[in-house]
């Protein structure tokens, strides 16, 4: 079976085999729960910790691992045809073009492409995009959930409302509040741009609305009367913190409806990172919490592409984050607060929504779990208190906000969860997207100028170019194109259909071992509009 080995080794080569074989890990999901040993550690947010061994279902043992290994080889028998591969890759793709009115496009955004490829079942990543209707600007975000998708789902449907409300001027807030009070129709705040698979929870909608309303009521009350310009950075930070706070509060208060009660607890006990971009004209703000990343694609004068990182990962690779954590906790915890590159030896991202296990006091955790529904009580994971848990909170949802003023050479922005960034270098990401987006234009236009070219030669040349073009245009979506490369790239950086087919035909139980959920949003900027802004000043 040469096939599988080739596939396996590159993925597990940097993992110590002993660690793999010797440990089991906890996974919130039953589907994925440690059915195989080949879990590259770096790919899971929760480290395999000896203490977790007990949480694993008793059936799981070494014998199973070998079974799993054999099982892994079976999919090699079926190859996916290119159309099948495409239908998998394109299942979640979504494109939005900012409508052009009569040739006068005032938005600095041309549109965006987004897509996601699940590795978990169900996928734990989420994405959101919306246009602010009462203020200018567009919001785009990717959310990487862990320990389930409850938190990322909640953040994906709620966060933008918090941001939009934070950006609203006092008068608009008053108007909305008055409308609610008097039962009039509300001003719409957001125009969502959703793929049909992106859903919103109907059941929690009322609860979420009430929390949001409390938030704007407080904003109204806090208003000092002086109509100061709203600072986007501050608004983003407030919105992130407020939502996380609401998630936490809702879980503490509970809900008389048992379904909702369980839901708010699942949201609070699972976690999610968020990377959100707010684009208004040439003003680009990126608010990041966790290890998703925002990357700007810049086209240099010579046509080449370079990547500008607009967010910092909040994980062990970030010195400043390590420093922050150490400062926030007593000296004696310096060694335990980050262990094996993980927060308290458990969590990879150092900032996240939810994850109240890293935020609440032990007392509070116990109280909530005890009074909570049975499902919660039966869940070993929620009951488990992280080791060395002395001075909570250890985790925050406060984002780090970066500001960038768009320039005409800034062609696009890639927002993606770590599933992309761990398979591809940022430079490659930007190059692939850049070449894809410019596509046709990148091929130098042919000019005859002075050379002797016959009609036949020209015809041959053009036919060749068209053939080349059609392969680029297999994808109508930049995010899909990027995923195709992320999953199917061979060592030469070219998409290898065989590899792509193998990776995509992995059964649900195995997929997570070879890749993480990947979620990508590629936002394309309108250089003309950006340039016009520049000229105005």
């Amino acid at each position: 079976m040469p096939g599988p080995t080739q596939l396996f080794f590159p993925l597990i080569r940097n993992c110590e085999l002993s660690r793999i074989y010797g440990t089991a890990c906890y996974c919130h999901h039953k589907h994925l729960c440690c059915s195989s040993p080949y879990i590259p550690q770096s790919r899971l947010r929760y480290t395999p910790h000896p203490a977790y061994a007990t949480f694993c279902r008793p059936k799981e043992n070494w014998w199973q691992y070998t079974q799993g290994r054999r099982y892994a080889s079976t999919p090699q028998k079926f190859y996916l045809t290119p159309p099948q591969v495409n239908s998998i890759l394109k299942a979640n793709e979504y494109s939005f073009k900012v409508p052009e009115f009569d040739g006068k496009n005032v938005s600095s955004i041309l549109g965006f492409d987004s897509n996601q490829l699940p590795a978990n079942a169900p996928i734990e990543d989420r994405r959101s995009a919306a246009t602010c209707l009462q203020t200018r600007g567009m919001l785009l975000g990717v959310f990487d959930g862990h320990a389930g998708c409850a938190c990322s789902q909640a953040v994906s449907e709620r966060l933008f409302y918090y941001i939009a409300v934070s950006l609203l001027p006092h008068e608009t807030l008053l108007e909305i509040e008055n409308a609610v009070e008097s039962g009039r129709a509300l001003l719409p705040i957001l125009q969502w741009h959703k793929h049909p698979n992106d859903y919103f929870s109907k059941e929690a909608s009322k609860l979420y609305f009430n929390s949001l309303r409390t938030y704007w009521q407080e904003l109204i009350d806090l208003n000092t009367g002086e109509s100061s310009d709203i600072d986007v950075k501050e608004a983003l930070i407030n919105a992130f913190k407020r939502l996380d706070n609401d998630i936490s509060l809702e879980a503490q208060v509970g809900d008389p409806n048992s379904f909702l009660n369980y839901l708010v607890l699942r949201v609070a006990f699972s976690g999610a990172t968020a990377c959100v971009a707010h684009v208004d004209g040439v003003d680009l703000h990126v608010a990041n919490t966790g290890d998703s990343r925002a990357m700007l694609g810049v086209q240099e004068e010579d046509g080449s592409w370079s990547a500008v990182t607009l967010s910092n990962d909040h994980n062990a690779q970030n010195e400043r984050e390590l420093e922050r954590l150490k400062l926030e906790h007593p000296k004696n915890e310096a060694k335990s607060v980050v262990k094996q590159d993980r927060l308290l030896g458990l969590l990879m991202p150092f900032r996240a929504f939810g994850d109240v296990k890293f935020k609440w006091s032990i007392d509070l955790q116990k109280r909530v779990i005890e009074s909570g529904p049975d499902q919660l009580n039966d869940n070993e994971y929620t009951k488990f208190i992280p080791p060395n848990y002395h001075t909570p909170p250890y985790l925050t949802a406060e984002p780090e906000v970066t500001y960038h003023r768009l320039r005409p050479q800034d062609k696009f922005l890639v927002l993606a969860t770590d599933g992309l960034w761990e398979t591809m270098h940022r430079q490659d990401v930007v190059r692939i997207v850049g070449e894809y987006l410019t596509g046709m234009h990148h091929q130098q236009p042919i000019a005859v100028g002075g050379y002797k070219v016959t009609l036949g030669q020209m015809h041959g040349l053009l036919t060749e170019r068209r053939a080349k073009m059609s392969s680029v245009f297999e994808d109508q979506n930049a995010a899909t194109h990027l995923i195709r490369h992320a999953v199917g790239n061979n060592e030469f950086g070219a998409v290898d259909h065989e590899r792509l087919s193998k990776m995509l035909s992995l059964p649900e139980e195995l997929a997570r071992m070879y890749r993480d959920d990947i979620t990508i949003i590629v936002v394309q900027f309108n250089s003309h509009v950006v340039g016009a802004y520049q000229n105005q000043e």
Partner: protein
């Protein structure tokens, strides 16, 4: 493009500019150096120094108008005119276009002799290739019309094609049309020659002078503001080509000139090893979307691709169209097509790919005439890449229009007035020209509807009708149902449904027509324009009596069919007028231009099209449906024909019910305030069920009205048709006791007799299933001699024959001069209609077939199926 540059440069070397050419120099005082100040006033200012502007100037000056200033923002003949491929082709789809091209051809041919300026005119002839049978039919139709105009042309075999052109691959051809008189010419040189001749006649020409806007006072042109100063003038002519739209909008009172430019590419090569003869015919391979002409021993080849690139939507202005990008990738399909047609060209060396924007209009016809909003504002633009072919003729017609008030030929198909507000949207134009440009070489089949710019104006019943299977056509942006596809029937896809033969909807329309004859049908006719005139005194009657030819002083409640005439007695529109009370007249009309309306505050004219939904209940059972819905007797005793009452229908009050159907069938028109439309429709449909009611569309209406010899304005009638020429003497009251517009002309015509007569033809030996269907524009032969063309046609399900309407002329056999047409002349003749070269016998009738009006089902014909709902 270079070849033009080269030739201009070559000339410049000998003389620094057109102003100094011998011909122009003689007139140096008027057309002095460019620095000379503009004159303060002139009779006419022409904007645009391309072929259109120079041609208008040339013709005006020939007709004796010499106080003319022509201004050009760049250099003369430097826009599309300079880049033009230089092919003059007379094979056009409209007769008027053929006439313009034919005149241009004759004009250019002698221009060199007249002006002494070389125009490069060479008679090459052109060959139109057909790769399919349908294309060949299309060519045969054109061929028939060219022949009756006296322009030589013939349908030839592929073998003959190969003899005429050395390089052509003919194995995939089914035939071709050869037009030997077609020519190639340098369009820029033609424009310069025209300019120089005009200048000799006294026209002053100023280049590098930009028109900023036209000054208008009280709806009348008063002058022109340019970047070099003002010129007072009475007439302004907008020949600004692709900038005509922008220029039109720049006025205080904007003039909408709907046109839009698309990039257009053609290829120039170096000479062949054995250089092509300069008289090698031009090839038009419409199925391959390319044209190919000889050019300096090599070839020039361009085409009209399927995916055009619109340009200048935002009106980006620039002096001259300089070096737009060549786009080889875009040209690739055309190049493939060219090499397929002429495989030997593989080794031919490329010289240049030229990108020259061409201007297109929403209906692929050029735009000429006077603006309806600004008097004295004339337009000639939007040539759909046939500027060279039309230039001479169009300039002549426009000049005649300005000098005499009307052109010598009937150009209403090209009149600017055919457009309304819809076409002035940039978005609409951008989208529409992307459909129009490929249409240049698409097969033109009958009943083709544009697909872009649709669903703009709709009736409140649109969704309801659409859900019931309505298929739609569009008129002035208004969607109207063509027919209703029953749920169990599938029609062909749009592209496959193109045919010159029996269409796939034949049976559907048949059942709709049958239902109109035997039961009752409802047709949504909301798209008809409706006006209402009210006044405090008797002014309404007075003014209408003056405007319309029929006597409108009728008792309240009566409807009068009439029309507005022009001074020449021709129909400006055709309408029905009902007198609602002593002072209110709703005018049901399809095109009303009340420019004669006095500025009288007591008189109110209102376009109420949008206020009313019009439902046409056609059929013998319409009476029953309506009386059941209104509890009012609707029998002819109580509600005679051509009568109008305001009454309640269902719960809705104030519905105007008129006993007329536009078809000659019994029935009613309901004018329903739009908020009641759905209610009334639902009531009519539910009550009508037991009378076998069903929806019908315009195709059924059309079949019904044509078999009854009901002529429609815009199709059969136009501004050059008088009531006397179409058998409507009874609708004209010459002795109604007061004058009306056109009365003089009609009186005279009555005395002298008419020179053409609208006649109905019933095709005799025509097989509906197997023969080509008539459309319109088919030549009519009387006793073997050409006497006119058809204007519309339809299949009559009652007569089970095709019916064509058309005008019969009486051309003198010796001189070709038009003579008076008497009823006797029509009746005593053997007629044939030429459909794509095949002549079908036809019976001519001056009055409708009487039996159609007294349709009665015989008792023993009744069958069970008549009990089914329709």
């Amino acid at each position: 493009m270079f070849y033009r540059l080269l030739s201009v440069v070559r000339r410049r070397r000998t003389s620094p500019g057109w102003q100094n050419w011998p011909s122009a120099r003689s007139n140096a005082s008027s057309a002095a150096a460019p620095s000379a100040a503009l004159p303060a006033q002139a009779q006419v200012v022409i904007c645009g120094g391309g072929i259109m502007g120079t041609s208008v100037a040339y013709h005006l000056s020939k007709m004796g108008w010499t106080d003319i200033v022509l201004v050009e923002q760049g250099r003369l003949a430097a826009g599309s005119t300079r880049f033009c491929a230089g092919i003059l082709s007379t094979a056009r789809h409209l007769t008027i276009e053929q006439k313009m091209a034919d005149y241009s051809n004759k004009l250019y041919q002698q221009l060199e002799q007249e002006t002494g300026i070389q125009t490069g005119y060479i008679k090459t002839g052109s060959i139109y290739l057909a790769q399919t049978q349908d294309r060949l039919i299309s060519l045969k139709r054109i061929n028939s019309r060219l022949n009756v105009m006296g322009i030589p042309s013939e349908i030839i075999s592929p073998k003959k094609v190969a003899e005429l052109h050395p390089l052509l691959n003919v194995h995939d051809l089914v035939g071709a049309m050869h037009v030997p008189e077609d020519a190639v010419v340098s369009s820029a040189d033609v424009a310069l020659a025209l300019a120089s001749a005009a200048s000799q006649n006294g026209v002053q020409i100023y280049d590098r002078t930009t028109v900023l806007h036209v000054m208008v006072k009280q709806g009348q042109v008063t002058g022109v503001e340019t970047d070099k100063g003002q010129i007072e003038c009475q007439y302004f002519v907008n020949c600004a080509g692709q900038w005509a739209y922008e220029l039109g909008l720049s006025n205080e009172e904007p003039v909408s000139i709907p046109l839009h430019a698309c990039e257009h590419f053609y290829l120039l090569t170096r000479p062949l090893e054995t250089p092509l003869q300069s008289d090698t015919p031009t090839i038009v391979d419409a199925d391959g979307r390319v044209y190919i002409r000889n050019w300096q021993g090599g070839i020039l080849s361009g085409g009209f691709e399927k995916n055009p690139k619109p340009i200048f939507t935002e009106g980006k202005n620039q002096l001259e169209i300089q070096n737009l990008q060549e786009d080889w990738d875009h040209f690739e399909p055309l190049l493939s097509s060219l090499l397929r047609r002429m495989p030997e060209l593989e080794t031919l060396e490329i010289m240049k790919l030229v990108n020259c924007p061409e201007t297109f209009t929403p209906d692929m016809r050029c735009i000429m005439g006077e603006s309806p909003v600004v008097q004295g504002y004339f337009v000639l633009a939007g040539m759909n890449s046939a500027g060279l072919s039309f230039g001479g003729g169009a300039g002549k017609f426009l000049a005649e229009w300005m000098v005499y008030g009307y052109p010598s030929e009937n150009i209403w198909e090209l009149d600017l007035k055919r457009f309304g507000a819809l076409q002035s949207s940039r978005t609409f134009l951008r989208h529409r020209v992307m459909e129009v440009m490929p249409l240049m070489y698409d097969l033109k089949v009958p009943r083709w509807d544009f697909q872009t710019g649709r669903q703009l104006r709709t009736s409140p019943l649109y969704d309801r009708l659409d859900a019931q299977g309505a298929r739609w056509m569009e008129k002035h942006g208004f969607e109207r149902p063509k027919y209703f596809v029953p749920p169990d029937k599938d029609l062909l896809a749009l592209e496959q449904s193109k045919t010159f033969y029996k269409p796939d909807w034949f049976d559907i329309v048949e059942s709709e027509v049958k239902c109109c004859k035997e039961a009752v049908c409802v047709i949504d006719m909301s798209s008809f324009t409706k006006f209402e005139i009210t006044s405090t005194g008797d002014q309404a009657l007075e003014i209408l009596q003056y405007l319309f030819s029929n006597d409108l002083d009728v008792p309240v409640g009566h409807i009068v069919h009439t029309g507005m005439l022009n001074q020449g007695g021709g129909y400006e529109n055709d309408c029905s007028i009902a007198r609602l009370n002593k002072r209110r007249y709703p005018v049901g009309s399809r095109n009303l231009m009340l420019k004669h309306m006095p500025k009288d505050t007591d008189l109110l004219l209102e376009d109420v099209t949008w206020k009313y939904t019009a439902l046409n209940l056609i059929g013998p059972r319409a009476v029953d449906v309506l009386s059941e819905l209104s509890y009012a007797p609707m029998t002819p005793d109580h509600f005679p024909s051509l009568f109008c009452k305001e009454m309640s229908v269902g719960y809705a009050n104030g519905i105007r019910v008129m006993s007329m159907t536009h078809t000659g069938e019994p029935g009613f028109m309901l004018y329903i305030p739009i908020e009641y439309a759905l209610h009334v429709y639902n009531e009519v449909m539910s009550v009508g069920q037991k009378y076998g009611i069903r929806n019908a569309g315009y195709y059924a209406l059309r079949s019904l009205r044509i078999e009854k010899f009901f002529a429609f304005w815009g199709q059969d009638l136009n501004t050059l048709t008088t009531p006397l020429e179409c058998g409507r003497e009874s609708r004209v009251k010459l002795d109604k006791g007061m004058d009306f517009i056109g009365r003089e002309a009609l009186l005279q015509q009555k005395q002298n007799g008419v020179y053409k007569r609208l006649t109905m033809f019933i095709l005799d030996d025509h097989d509906t299933d197997l023969d080509l269907w008539p459309w319109w524009g088919e030549p009519i032969y009387r006793n073997g001699l050409y006497v006119g063309k058809t204007t519309s046609s339809a299949y009559s399900y009652t007569l089970e024959r095709h019916v064509c309407l058309g005008f019969v002329h009486n051309f003198s056999e010796d001189t070709g001069e038009e003579q008076v047409v008497m009823a006797d002349f029509i009746n005593r003749g053997e007629y044939e209609i030429d459909i794509a070269g095949h002549r079908f016998q036809a019976k001519a009738k001056l009055y409708p077939v009487a039996s159609l009006f007294t349709h009665k089902r015989r008792k023993d014909d009744v069958e069970l199926s008549d009990l089914h709902g329709k």
